[in-house]
Assembly symmetry: C2
Amino acid sequence: MPNRFVRKLENFEKLPKTDRQAIVDVCQNIRKVAARNVMLEPGDWSYLFVSGLACRYQMLEDGTRQITDFIVPGDLCNGYSVLPDSGICSLSQCSVAYIPRDRLAQVMERHPRISRAFWRLAVAEATILRAWTANIGGRPADKRVAHLLCELCHRLCAPDDPGSNSCTLPLSQVDLADATALSPVHINRVLGRLRERKLVGLQRRSITVEDLRRLMAFGQFNGAYLHDVGAPA
Amino acid sequence: MPNRFVRKLENFEKLPKTDRQAIVDVCQNIRKVAARNVMLEPGDWSYLFVSGLACRYQMLEDGTRQITDFIVPGDLCNGYSVLPDSGICSLSQCSVAYIPRDRLAQVMERHPRISRAFWRLAVAEATILRAWTANIGGRPADKRVAHLLCELCHRLCAPDDPGSNSCTLPLSQVDLADATALSPVHINRVLGRLRERKLVGLQRRSITVEDLRRLMAFGQFNGAYLHDVGAPA
DNA sequence: CGAAAGGTTGAAACTTCTCAAGCAGGGTGG
DNA sequence: CCACCCTGCTTGAGAAGTTTCAACCTTTCG
């Protein structure tokens, strides 16, 4: 199950078998979390997401919820940066490996390579966050939405079906609005236009990317910044 | 000189003297970079910023420049995430320690604690990036500008003068526009209003925060997310 | 001295938001 | 099984915030 995490780490740092095993060992305590559940980032546990989709968000002073990033299988959430008014919310049903904080520290102590891989991974994730900022700050609504959907497809769907040109995302329109910093009403209109062009399909609580390649062109999406994190094996 | 970096790392992980020394040793090759210089993130070097202010940016398809974060003394830029259309630009004169990539790898190999501290630091920086997203996505222009200025003051000025209530930032209005995702014209008007309220002062290529405490209240700034990185010793 | 860069100001245009009302589906209790 | 409610989606119209265009000014620099 945590293979995907190991695979991701090995994008950065080839790990000897003992290191890989150490990671697998530490990920035994897996639990299911229902969709639409707020998961407080706890002080003593780290989360390794095994399946499902979640998002990190921040509440602003005026009651707005800003989603700051999505969490996909193979992502590690260490509760170090617990802030008031921020949290993690599952969007679909997720399974999550709960890792005691001190065991993780122990593993890093004993396997320096893992520490370094963690660092590289964190740096790569920062690149994704910057692309998010650029997307929200710089692109008009329709391309912004398209770009975000493309990112999610790549991070979420690609590993299971590399050549896939379509992918269903468990997002409500309000979720998308909070992620793109647009109003739900506007999101609805933008999605309507994307649907007219047969780029996406809309369901009650999910959005299907029908033609990923054309959507990428439309949203000027270049996946280089994903740094192959989560790419097919 | 790199003391500030060590100090930052030790926010996360107490380092033995040998580790601290290893970092200092690796930071000997210091060069000056003039203001307004594009510094390509090179493949073989890491940069440790010692003094000055720089920014990371990303060019978008329509020619917009989006600044995604600021780089302050004590920040480490490892060129791993070199992307097309993104780069680093000095805003003031900077001094930068150039560190050969392989030496840094070596240091991490020999000093596992340093790797772990690097990881923690990268995670903390991600928190700052998320706050940036939330700021751009969620706040109206005036508060957004105020918030950004507050962040910069905290990261840039505080270490030198903890209790300071004012601080001069080497930013042109266009820089601020690119950082906040607002047009230069609008930035100009917003700054005009902040000046009327005696919150900031405007110079030709710099902005002075005159009353940081009031500006923080106005921009609803809570520095918790800075995670004490760069905080006074 | 001229040119370039940064800043200032006004007016019109545009994107996006808000408010408001209405519809559809899915689950629940009667 | 139906009525109901709740959530999520849809649509229209007016309002707001922000952008664009354009002109002009000021300072710096070559």
